[in-house]
């Protein structure tokens, strides 16, 4: 179980975030479950890269959203759900970053090490488990963000394109300010 320090660089909270889903978790979780089962079915080999860490629970922390994601990438017992920030379940590692940065990682447009170097991605807990998860997700054929968008047809792909533009603009703004 990892400690839960506050992030000063990755602060801001959900206030003002334009994509924060107003959905209650009981509505969101069946969708997340469908997503993770689809990705697992499409990429059965990805679990090999996780080794013993496939049984581990990961917390994925989009710091500018009101919820966190809880993932167990075990093909025999897949689990992916949203959890309340105030009641975090046990986990071996936590990966924190802004939602758009995490999205671009899943879209294979961003390099995780680069985000780590710039301190836009924070990893705590079992580093080896996180590295395995990163390598497993990076080795899938179709970017996961695209697979998820395809599940929701034209609206899904439209939303992904919108988010991609938002991520690109955020990158440009960041580049201009450094």
């Amino acid at each position: 179980m990892t400690s839960e320090p506050k992030s000063s660089r990755l602060s801001g909270g959900p206030v003002g975030f334009p994509f924060a889903p107003p959905l209650p978790l009981f509505l969101l979780n069946p969708i997340l479950k469908r997503i993770v089962h689809r990705i697992a079915a499409q990429n059965p080999d990805m679990f090999d890269r996780l080794g013993p860490h496939r049984h581990a629970y990961f917390l994925i922390d989009p710091v500018d959203m009101p919820l966190m994601l809880y993932l167990r990438p075990d093909p025999e017992a897949l689990d992916f759900r949203a959890v309340n920030r105030r009641a975090l379940p046990p986990h071996v590692a936590r990966i924190s970053g802004k939602f758009l940065d995490l999205l671009t990682l899943m879209d294979t447009e961003q390099d995780g090490d680069a985000l780590f170097f710039s301190r836009d991605l924070i990893v705590t807990g079992d580093t080896e488990a996180v590295v395995c998860l990163r390598n497993a997700l990076d080795d899938v054929d179709e970017p996961i963000a695209e697979s998820v968008a395809d599940m929701f047809g034209a609206p899904g792909r439209g939303a992904l394109n919108f988010l991609r533009r938002a991520a690109e603009n955020a990158q440009k703004r960041k580049g201009a300010s450094t």
Binding site: G51, S118, T127, E128, C132, L133, V140
Partner: protein, 335 residues
């Protein structure tokens, strides 16, 4: 002196997806390794199974790209069988070359697979004409990957003296040390970079964040750096850590700074020096990195060979610590 040749672009791949990205982005050759100690990037969750390697070689060859297999660690005394097995496997799968550091591995290839090209890994740290001639004469080495300690003018002089091809690093990790001889990780973790293939294995790395947003990097039982809330970070390797020592006040990068090599502005000079191949470091990086860096250098090399002003993409966002240097290629005083 002969006219400069168009250098091959040698690109990294830690996974089959990264290999496909490198091929699609215009790599002339991809270097990659197996999931065992024969590979100097023997990191968990990374690298290729034999089946993945077979498919990946087929994909690369279909795209006109060569595959160079890294067998670039040093077998422990009396325990060479794994290295021999991986050489045999690589030959069977149709690899275009093996990159080796150890003379026993080179001798085995020469004896049992005389048609297999041998590239001498940077891990062999061969930089003098005498050392390189020895490897060429005794083992039939076709190419040497030069340590990152040489200036362009030294490389030019070497190219004129030695009877094999020369490959230089142009981008990525700037970990100099005496390559292939570094025992810092071994000292702290008990695992050897040079024999086990893992520098700072992830199982030994921990990041601890404080309330003020600062972050400490712990390797084994030792804190090797502490970054302020707004400071950029580097790899969790001892050579990139900050230490208190008599020479300086406060924490000091006693070995190397977290910074990446970027020789993009020096490509014309390196081509004129007669370098045969440019190597991009980063098998541990994502395919996003591979795609961006390979595409940028593909365009730059092609422009230079066409006599055009090269377009140099801004790659600083992908560099360690978001800092870059031309390193020893430009001057021995790179720090």
């Amino acid at each position: 002196m002969n006219a400069p040749v168009k250098p091959e672009l040698i690109c990294p791949a830690g996974t089959p997806a990264a290999l496909r990205s490198a091929v699609d982005a215009g790599a002339d050759a991809v270097y990659c390794g197996y999931q065992n100690a024969t590979n100097a990037r023997n990191f968990v969750g990374l690298n290729f199974t034999p089946e993945e390697m077979e498919k990946s070689i087929r994909y690369a060859h279909d795209g006109g790209t060569k595959v160079l297999i890294t067998l670039n660690t040093f077998p422990p005394s009396g325990n060479v069988q794994l290295w021999k097995d991986m050489v045999d496997l690589s030959a069977r799968l149709g690899a275009d070359a093996c990159i080796v550091a150890d003379i026993a591995v080179a001798a085995y290839i020469q004896k049992h697979h005389p048609d297999m090209r041998i590239h001498l890994s940077v891990q062999a740290a061969a930089s003098s004409p005498e050392a390189i001639e020895y490897y060429v004469r005794e083992f039939g080495v076709k190419r040497v990957v030069l340590p990152r300690i040489m200036t362009v003018s030294e490389i030019r002089g070497l190219v004129e003296e030695i009877p094999c091809e020369v490959e230089t690093f142009i981008f990525g990790n700037h970990g100099l040390m005496v390559e292939g001889r570094c025992s810092l990780t071994n000292y702290v973790t008990g695992q050897s970079t040079n024999m086990d293939g893992a520098c700072s294995p992830a199982a030994c790395v921990k990041y601890e964040r404080a309330e003020d947003g600062s972050m400490s990097t712990i390797l084994g039982d030792y804190m090797i750096d502490r970054f302020g809330p707004e400071e950029t970070a580097g790899y969790p390797t001892i050579c990139k850590g900050r230490y208190k020592c008599d020479a300086r006040d406060g924490g000091y990068y006693a070995f190397e700074e977290p910074i990446s090599l970027n020789a993009s502005t020096m490509l014309p000079e390196l081509i004129n020096a007669g370098v045969h191949a440019f190597k991009i470091e980063g098998r541990q990086r994502s395919r996003a990195y591979v795609k961006k860096v390979v595409a940028a250098f593909r365009e730059a090399v092609d422009s230079i060979m066409a006599g055009e002003e090269p377009k140099l993409a801004d790659l600083v966002a992908l560099t360690e610590g978001q800092k870059q240097t031309e390193g020893a290629l430009k001057t021995k005083k790179w720090r």
